[in-house]
Symmetry: C2
Amino acid sequence: MSKPLPKPSPTSLDVAARAGVSQSAVSRAFTPGASVSKATRAKVMAAAEELGYRPNVLARTLITGRSRIVALVVAYLDNQFYPVALEKFSKAFQALGYHVLVFMASNADEDVAHVLDGLLDYQVDGVIMASVSISNRLAARCETAGVPVVLFNRRQDDERLSAITSDNVAGGAKAADHLVSLGRRRIAHVTGWSGSSTGRDRREGFLARLDAHGVAPVAVVDGMYDREVAQQLTRALCAGPERPDALFVGSDHMAFAVMDTLRFELGLRVPDDVAVVGYDDVPMAGWPAYDLTTVRQSADAMVAATVETLMARIDDPSMAPRHLRIDAPLVVRGSTVKRETTR
Amino acid sequence: MSKPLPKPSPTSLDVAARAGVSQSAVSRAFTPGASVSKATRAKVMAAAEELGYRPNVLARTLITGRSRIVALVVAYLDNQFYPVALEKFSKAFQALGYHVLVFMASNADEDVAHVLDGLLDYQVDGVIMASVSISNRLAARCETAGVPVVLFNRRQDDERLSAITSDNVAGGAKAADHLVSLGRRRIAHVTGWSGSSTGRDRREGFLARLDAHGVAPVAVVDGMYDREVAQQLTRALCAGPERPDALFVGSDHMAFAVMDTLRFELGLRVPDDVAVVGYDDVPMAGWPAYDLTTVRQSADAMVAATVETLMARIDDPSMAPRHLRIDAPLVVRGSTVKRETTR
DNA sequence: CTGAAAGCGCTTACAG
DNA sequence: CTGAAAGCGCTTACAG
C-alpha cells in the first residue's frame, strides 16, 4: 500500500539533456530508418548507455498503435500438442520482435468473450485462437477493432477468419486406409470433440473412407478430447460381444488413455488384440511406452504458417483471410504393426 | 505496407461527448473507487456501451506505471511440469486482472539478459523466472528498474530474489529412504542438471541420506534434465558388471526415458530388476504406462505461493524477499513396489 | 461530485 | 539533419 519510489527510469528527455541534443533526436536515434546523423546517433547512444535508458514501448504503442504484442488464446495445455506449439510460437514471435500474451479460455462463449475484451484492452496487434472456437459475433468484434485473428488447429465457416489446420479429412482417411489394409474389420472410432472442426473433419474423412472400403464402423463415439472420457468409452466398447479389433482415436492425448486402459486394465495386447491409431504425433507418441501409430500434424509447419499469415494481415489488414490445410502424413509405429526389435 | 484505417476505436472523449459529461467523468466512471455520482456513471456507461468503448489499458499504464502484465520466463515446455504450471499461472493472474507475457529463454546468460531487456521495455509489473537461473548482475538490473522478480522452482544464493521451490533436499532424502527400505543396495542417481539448484539440492539430500544408511551410491551422473542424456546414461550404467538395482532420477521427465530404456531397450523389468524413483509427479507419472513412484512437487501450492509472493512485492516493493520451500511428499507407485492389481 | 488542465513518455509532421 | 510543438488516450491533482 505504501508507495516507495524505485528510482524512476530515465526518459528520452534525460538522455537528450545528457547528450546535448533535442528529445526528438533521441527518439530518432532509436527509430530504425529515421533520419539522424551518425554523430548524433552516437552521442545519443552513449548517453543512453550511461543512463541505462531504454525506450518505453508502451508510450510508443500509444502513438503508433502497434503494441508488438500478439495474443494467444488456448483452452488447455495438457494435450502436449499445445505446449509444443506455444513454445514455437513464442520463439518465432520473439525473433520478429513481437511478444506473446497468453490467455487461457474454456470453449464457453462467454468465457471467450470475456478474454477477448481483456486482450483488446491491451491493443494487441493480432490474435491466435488455438484450440478455441469463436462465435461469429466475437469474430466480428475483433474485425471491428481492426485486430486480425487467425485460428490455429481449428477452422470456421466464417470466411473472415484465417485458419490453419492440418488436412484433417485426408488424415482421417489415411487412418481408415491403414486399418483396413491391416485386415482389421471391427473398427471403432473415438472421435475428437464433435464441437470442434478437427473432431468433425477427422471423423468425416475416416468414415467416408471406411465406407469406400465397404466397412461399417462398429461404433463412433465422442471422446471430447478428454482422457477420462476416452477411458470410459474404451471400457464400454470392449465390454460388448463385438469387441473392436481396431480403434482410431481423435488425438494422441486420448489414444494414450485408450492404450493404458486396453493394456493395463483390460489385459489386451496392442496391436495383437486391438490396433490403435492416434492423431497429432506429439513427441510422446514416439516414446517406446506407447510407440503409437498416428497422423502427424507438423507443429513446425502449422506454427510457421500461422505466424506468417498473422504477420501478413498485421502488415496489410486489407489482405484476404487465408485458409491453409497442411498435409498430414501417417506415421506407422508399433501400436498397429508389431515390431520385431522390441519386446 | 498500405495503411488502411480500420475505423479507430472510440476514446473517452467520444464517450464524454455522447454522454454530455467531461472526459474526466468518463475516466472516473471506469476507475473503481473514484468519486462519481451514480447518475453520471450510468450516463457514461450507457454511452460507452453504445459506442463499444473500452479504456485503453496502455494509456493508463503510461500514467499509473502499472501495466498489469507479469512476465513469465521459461526455458522449456517439454517437461510437463512447466505447461501445467503455466496454465495455473495464467488462470491465477487472469483472476487478479493481470496477464501473462511469456518469454522463452535458454539458460545462457546473454540470452536471459536479452529477454530481460525485452520485458523491461514492456513495463511489466513483475517477473517470474521458471526453470531459469539468473545472474546477480541481471537480478540487480531488475531491482534497479523497480521490477520484483521471483524464482519459480529454482533458488539462488542472492538474497534479493524471492524464490519458491519444493523442499528438494528433503525430497531427495525421501527417495533414498524409500529405496533403502525396499532393500535395494546397488543404487545409482541420475541427477537433474547440476547447474540448477533443484538438481544440486535433490542430489545433496539423496546422497546425505544414503550415506546415513551406510549405502554408497554405485554411480552419480548428470542427466541434464534431458531425455536423450538420461537414455544414454541408463545404457552406460546397465552395461557395467554392477548393474544398479535402483535408480533415483532427478525429474519425472527423465525418469520416463530411463524406464523406456530399461524396459524396451534393455529388456529389464521395473521394479523387479530395477526400481525407479522420479521427481515432480507430473500427471503422466500417474498414467498406467509408467506408474512412477516419485516425489510430488505440488504445482498448485508452488504456483499459489509464487503468485502470492509476487503480488505482495508488487503492492509493496519494500517488502523483504521470501524464500519458501513447499513440502514434497513421496508418492509410491508401481515403479518401485509391484502392484498385484495390474499385470 | 465535477470540469479544465497538466502531464505520463514517446512519435511525427512541420519548419528550418 | 535538427528542434519546437502537437498529440496519442488516458489519470489525477487542483479548484470549485
